[in-house]
């Protein structure tokens, strides 16, 4: 599903954020991406969604070389990927409900389906009671759950989650990981970047470990 071949990326020509990374994630697989802060985890995830372009190497998503994608193919690719950004990237002007609904609007769902799916996912991440609030009125943990809801609601082919539980206590973390496990069980390919070893211990899956932009182990 996802293949990186000798991918390197440096921001504004400085030291490489990732260098010569190669790995492969099979369809329906669940992998963790670990490594210390600044190792390059977010960079790899951003490369996957074409938010960055590699300096070197090839990236294949769902069998397509993303360097060869046409301008209008990039949105199409992104529509199939649910992303939880490390900094959430919620839209401040929109309510919690509208933020999550946007994910489905982009896919062209009808208003009725949007209402049903959005209500359901907000309940399952436990922020339904805040649906009419604006992101800045929420705690960090609540915002994170909205960001997760937004990625999950569209039943993506690939789920890319960057520190999805970074701001959550252990109880909520377990709930969220259970949801991610559910969506994985439905066939979604999942990549979770985290440095929470506890999660990996409780829910062991393949681990891609990087340090200083290099891949050290492919468990």
């Amino acid at each position: 599903m996802i293949q990186f071949y000798h991918v390197s990326k440096s921001y504004d020509g400085r030291q490489q954020a990732v260098s010569d990374i190669s790995f492969r994630v099979k369809k329906g697989e669940f992998v963790y991406l670990t490594g210390p802060s600044g190792a390059g985890k977010s960079t790899i995830l951003r490369l996957m969604i074409c938010a960055e372009t590699p300096d070197d190497g090839q990236i294949l998503i769902a069998g397509r070389n993303i360097a060869r994608l046409k301008q209008h193919d990039i949105p199409k690719l992104r529509r199939g990927i649910g992303v939880v950004f490390q900094d959430f990237k919620l839209i401040e002007r929109k309510t919690v409900y509208e933020n999550v609904a946007l994910s489905l609007r982009i896919l062209g769902y009808s208003e009725e389906v949007i209402r049903k799916k959005t209500g359901h996912v907000l309940k399952s991440v436990g922020v339904y009671s805040r649906k009419d609030s604006y992101p800045l009125q929420l705690s960090g943990g609540e915002q994170q759950r909205v960001a997760i809801a937004r990625a999950l609601v569209k039943d993506p082919i690939i789920l890319v989650a960057d520190e999805p539980t970074g701001n959550l206590d252990w109880d909520v973390t377990q709930d969220i990981m259970a949801l991610i496990k559910d969506i994985h069980a439905q066939g979604t390919t999942v990549i979770v970047a985290t440095h929470n070893r506890e999660i990996i211990k409780r829910m062991p899956k393949r681990v891609l470990h990087i340090e200083a932009g290099r891949m050290l182990e492919q468990g």
Partner: protein, 291 residues
């Protein structure tokens, strides 16, 4: 999706109330110029047509005209193939008519002691009489003995008409200026709106939103702004014309009241307001996205 576009567009307008209002007013002033121009142009044209139709040709005779001179003038007119009829009005008849039509001013005339009104010949022209041939006749009659003045409305109208023609060219320039002005104004506002939402646009792009999905609300916003502005300026114009129709000086010139723009003109103005707003926002979007 359309519903989402519309509600987003209205929310955007509402979020930037002050800017939106300012833009709508500025746009409507620009469109208002065009509307005013059209209204003036059409009313002038209508007044001219009325004028030249109602009073084709009048020959005013001097007070000392002899019967022979009068006969000569009348013969000349009746002999012209352009003329379909000649009616003679004597000084006394003219005074009588005047008394009949303007009772309140009759006292003024009486106070003069003498009759200031001239005798006249009202000449009806054949409908197919060309203005050039008629003008030649007018010139000739003017030089005849006993003729004080020849009033040929077509002549006055002709001067006004050529004025109207240059007015039309000015209108074209004005129209073009307004066109560009409106596009520029809505471009600037929408650019601001797009920049204001740039973070949100970036997120939507990352979520895979198609270009049209991102643009939709902004395009509609521009469209609405143009429509609102056109509606506003037409409303003000209508009020103005209605008010002016009631003023004495205008009542004299256009007894039927001033005409509001015909349907095609105001529909056209609303449509072009919307279209220009849309164009402005499209430019804004293309410019901003490229950055």
């Amino acid at each position: 999706m359309i519903r989402y576009f519309i509600s987003s567009a209205f929310r955007n307008l509402w979020e930037a109330k002050v800017t939106s209002l300012f833009t709508a007013v500025t746009l409507s002033v620009a469109l208002g110029f065009l509307g005013t121009y059209l209204a003036v142009f059409m009313n002038m044209k209508a007044a001219l047509d009325l004028m030249s139709e109602k009073f084709p040709l009048s020959v005013y005779l001097s007070d000392h005209v002899s019967q022979a001179q009068l006969d000569a003038v009348q013969d000349r007119l009746k002999g012209s193939p352009l003329v379909s009829g000649v009616t003679y009005t004597s000084k006394d008849k003219a005074l009588e008519d005047f008394r009949g039509s303007r009772k309140d001013e009759a006292a003024l005339i009486d106070s003069l002691g003498t009759n200031p009104l001239p005798a006249s010949l009202d000449v009806a022209l054949r409908p197919d009489a060309g203005p050039e041939a008629a003008m030649a006749l007018v010139k000739e009659v003017r030089t005849m003995q006993g003729v004080d003045e020849v009033n040929y409305m077509q002549e006055e109208a002709g001067k006004l008409r050529s004025m109207l023609a240059s007015f039309r060219i000015a209108g074209l320039a004005l129209g073009l200026a307004v066109l560009m002005g409106v596009v520029f104004i809505s471009y600037s506002t929408l650019r601001l709106a797009v920049l204001n939402h740039s973070e949100e646009i970036a997120v939507m792009k990352l979520m895979g939103a198609a270009r049209i999905f991102i643009m939709g609300p902004f395009l509609l916003e521009g469209l609405f702004q143009g429509l609102i502005a056109a509606g506003l300026s037409l409303g003000v114009l209508y009020g103005l014309l209605h008010y002016l129709s009631g003023t004495p000086s205008v009542m004299l010139l256009a007894p039927g009241g001033l005409a509001f723009l015909p349907v095609w003109a105001w529909l056209g103005m609303i449509a072009s307001g919307g279209l220009l707003g849309l164009t402005g926002s499209l430019f804004a979007f293309v410019r901003t996205l490229r950055m």
